[in-house]
Amino acid sequence: MRTSTAAPLKHNMIGTAMERREDHRLLTGHGKFLDDLDMPDTLEAAFLRSDFGHARILGIDTSAALELPGVVGVFTGGDIRPMMKPMPAKVAHPALQEMPRLPMALDEVHYVGEPVAVVVATSRYIAEDALELIEIDYEELPAISSTAAALAPGAPLAHLGAKDNIAVHAVQRAGDADAAFAAAPHVLSGTFRITRGGGHSMECRAVAARYDTAARQLVVWDSTQAPHYARNALANLYDMHEDDIRLIAPADVGGGFGPKAQFYGEEAVIPWVAMQLRRPVKWIEDRRENFISAMMERTQTHRIKVAFDDDGKLIAMKDVFEHDQGAYVAGLQVPMITLSTVPGQYKIPNIHTELYSCYTNMVPTSSVRGAGRPQAVAAMERMMDRIAEYLGLDPAEVRRRNLIQPDEFPYKVGIMFRDGSPLTYDSGNYPELLAGTLERLDYDGWRRRQVELRAEGRLIGIGIGCYVEGCGLGPYEGAKARLTNSGEVLVTLAAAPQGQGYETVYAQIASDAMGLDMDYIRVTTGDTGRIPFGQGTFASRITATAGPAVLQACQALRARIFTTAAVMLKVEADNFVFRGDRVCLAEDESISVTLREVTQVANVGKHGITLLRGVPAGLETQAYFAPERAAYASGAHAAVVEVDPETGRITVLKYVIGHDCGTVINPLLVDGQVLGGFAAGIGNAMYEEQFYDESAQPQTTSYLDFSLPSSMEVPPVELFHIQSPSPLNPLGAKGAGEGGTIPAPATIANATEDALRSFGARINEMPVTPPRVAAAIAGRVPAAQ
C-alpha cells in the first residue's frame, strides 16, 4: 500500500487576514447563544443567594415558595445531598488548606452571593417571586473583607473550620536573594496594591439541561470556556459515566475572559434538578448575580525590593505578595502565575517570590484576562522606573541594560512555571520589541516635549511596561478531521470559542495542512459528544495546542484521502493535489476523483461488498497535541499621558503596543485580540474596581457603580507585531489573548508617576483613578497598606 507523505506546510491561508465566517449570523441576529436556543417546555430557575459575607444557616423554610402557582420545585443544599460533594481546586498545591466548596451552601455561607437554594418555575419572573417567599434564619458571623484583615493577628476566621485564613503559602527561589541583598550596593523597595476587576463578558453565565430518558443521556448546554472540564466535573459529582453526559458549549458564547473557564455550583445544580424533575431546566445569570457570584480577580498587595549595581543592572529581586483568593479556592492558577511572572524580561541572578494566598469572605477569585500577570508586571515595572529615578538614568535605558538578549533563548529563569515545568522562555526578541515601541511612540521627541511643556505648567508623563506571558499551556488539546458523506472536511475541535473566530482560524490552518480550499472545510467546536477529550479555552493556549492538533489531524486525513484516490484511479503515483473538490494527479490533473466519490468508497461503502484493497476504511483522523511546556509570548507597551493636577484626570495622549505572539495565523483577528485585551487593560489601569465594605458587603453590583470602559475611555493605540516563532509546536504559535491587557496598569501608573515627578508624588495603587492621583499630589498616600 502506498501512503502519501505529508508535504511541507505551505502557508497560503496561515498569515492571511481572513474575514470571519461567524459574522453573518451574529450580524443578522441569528446567533445561537444559550438563551437564544429554542428549547420548548423548558422551566426556568432562579437562585436564592446569601445576603451575608459570613453566617451560619440555622434554618430554611421553603414551604411558602412551593405553594406559589407556577413553581415546580424548590431545592436547598440539603435537598440535593447525593451530589453535594466538594468541587476540588483545578490548580492545587501540596500546602493548600482546601476548604470544601459545595454546589450550594449547607450550614455556613462564606460570601454574599453564595447559592443557598434554587427555585424552578414556569418562568423566571415567577421563580424570582418565589425567592422572596423563602425564609432563611441566619446567624451573622464576623467577615473578612481584605487580605490585610485576613492576616491581622487574632483575625476572625473566614471559614469556621479553618486553622487560619491562609489558603496557601508558597515560595520560589533562584540563586540566593538574601545574600545578594546583603552585599548589594543599592537596594530599593516599594509596596504596590493592584486591584483587578471581573471578566464582565456581555453574556453572563448560562446553563440548561435536559435528561433524555429514552437514551438515558443527560444533555447540558453550558456557556462555558471548558466543556470537557465541566462534563468531567458533572460525571464526578453525579457518579455517572462520562459518555452518559453530553455537554455542549453553544457555537456562540458571549465572551469568556476567564470566569467561564471555572466550574460553579450553579452548573452542578441545574442539570441535577432537571434530572430530578424530568423536565428541561435553564438558568440565565443576570448581571447582579454576575457581580456577586461569577468569579473575579481582585486585589494583590506586593512588597517588592530590588538590588542593583551603579549601572542599574539587577542583582536580586524579592517580592512577597498577598493574594485575595476569596471565599473558596476554585484554583490557584492566578497567584501561581504571579509567582513566576515577576522577573519578566530581565536577567535577575537572584530571585525570591513568595505568596500568601488568603481566604476572605468575598466572591472566590480566579482567572480574568491577564490572570495574575498584570499584578506581577506592575510590581516589577514600577521598580524599574524607581531604579532609573534613583540613579538618574533614563527608564528605557535601565530596561535595555537588563533585557534578556535574543541569543540567550531558551532562557531558564531559575524558578518554576505554573504548568509544572522549569520557567524557560522559548523564544523572543525583547530589545527589538522595546526599540520598536519607543520609536513608534517617538520616545525621544516626547522626552524633549515633556520638558518644554512642563515649563508651561503641563504635566506630561511617559510610561513603559514590558512583560512575558506564559501561554499555550498543556496538557493537550485535540481535534478530529473527517471527510463527511457530503464530501466536505469537518474539523471537530474539543475547544470552545467565545468570540475568537475558531470557525475561521482553524479552517485556515486545516486548509494549509491539506492544501484544500477553505470552502470545503467546516469547523465545529465545544461538544463533548463529538470528541471525548479536551481541556478548554483559557491561558491563551488554544492556537498553540489545538492549532497543531488540527494541523496533524488534517495532514493525516490528506494522506488517507490521497491513498484512497490512488487506489480508485489505479495509479502508482501518490503525488496528488486538490483542485476545488477534486483530488487530481499532479502531473496530469485530468486524472481525478471528487471528494464525494472518495467518501462514497472509503466511508459510505456498499453493504456487504469487499472494500477495494488498499483503501483505508473510514476517513477520519484525530490528533492530540501535548506541548512539552508553556510557550512565552512577550510585548512592550509605552504611553504618554497628561495629568490634570486640579482634577486628577489622566488623558492618554499616545499609546503603542509592541507584540510578539510567534506565528500570526490571522492578522485581522490577532489585532482584534490585542486591541480588545488593551481595552480590558485600560479598565484595569484606570477604571475597574470592586468595592466591599468591612462586613464584606459588595458595594459595586451594577454598571452604575462599576465603570467598564466605553468607546470614550479606550484611547487610540498603535499596534505592531514581531514574530518569534515558538520552537515548541509545528505552527510556531503562541498566545495572543492577554498581551493587550497585561502591562497596561504598569504602563499607565509609570506614566502618571512620571508626570508627577516634580511633586515627588507616588502612585502605589492601581487602578490609577482621579482620587488616587489627587491624593498622590497632596502627598497623602506614600504607600499602599
Binding site: 450580524l27 441569528h30 437564544d36 463578558s201 456581555m202 458571549g254 465572551g255 448581571r287 482584534g672 468607546s711
Partner: protein, 169 residues
C-alpha cells in the same frame, strides 16, 4: 409567552416589528426585551445588564433608539419597532453590517445587535465623520471584546458610504 399569564395581570399588545404586525397577550410586567425574545422569537436582541447601561438590548421604537430592558411590552402598544433581524435585505447585509464584518468590529457578537441599532439610528440623523463623533455615537453601548477601534472605523466608513454624496454636494 408566559404560560401562566392567566394568573397575572395580562394585557393585549399590538406592535409592528420589522414591518410585520403582531398581536399578543402578555403579562403587564413582561419587558419589551423578553417579549421580543421569548414572545416573538426574535432572539437577536440580547440582554447584557437589564439595568439600561450596556445597551445590548437597544431597539428602535418609532425610530428612536431605546433600551428594551427598561420598558414593558405593553408600553410599546401601537409602536413600530425595528430590531437587528430587520437590518439585512434577505441575505444581503446592510452597509453598516457589511462594514462591521469587513473591519472585524465584532468578536463574540453578543453586544453587536445593540451597537448596530444605536448606530443605525445615529446615521439616520446625519453623517458621523470624525473619530470623536463615532466614539460619541458608540458610547451608549458596551463591548468587552473589541476595544472599539474597529467599530469606530466601521461607523465612519458606513457614514461615508451612506452620506458621502450629501456631504460632497
Amino acid at each position: 409567552m408566559n404560560p401562566d399569564a392567566s394568573d397575572e395581570a395580562a394585557s393585549q399588545v399590538r406592535v409592528t416589528v420589522n414591518g410585520r404586525e403582531y398581536r399578543a397577550v402578555t403579562d403587564v410586567r413582561t419587558t419589551l426585551a423578553d417579549f421580543l425574545r421569548h414572545g416573538l422569537g426574535l432572539t437577536g436582541t440580547h440582554l447584557g445588564c437589564e439595568h439600561g447601561v450596556c445597551g445590548a438590548c437597544t431597539v428602535l421604537l418609532d425610530g428612536a433608539a431605546v433600551r428594551s430592558c427598561l420598558m414593558f411590552a405593553v408600553q410599546a402598544d401601537g409602536a413600530k419597532i425595528e430590531t437587528v433581524e430587520g437590518l439585512a435585505e434577505g441575505d444581503e447585509l446592510s452597509p453598516l453590517q457589511e462594514s462591521f464584518h469587513r473591519n472585524h468590529a465584532l468578536q463574540c457578537g453578543f453586544c453587536t445587535a445593540g451597537f448596530l441599532m444605536s448606530v443605525t439610528a445615529a446615521l439616520r440623523e446625519g453623517p458621523v465623520e470624525t473619530d470623536e463623533q463615532a466614539r460619541e455615537v458608540l458610547s451608549g453601548n458596551i463591548c468587552r471584546c473589541t476595544g472599539y477601534a474597529a467599530m469606530i472605523k466601521a461607523v465612519q466608513e458606513t457614514s461615508m458610504q451612506v452620506h458621502g454624496d450629501k456631504a460632497a454636494s
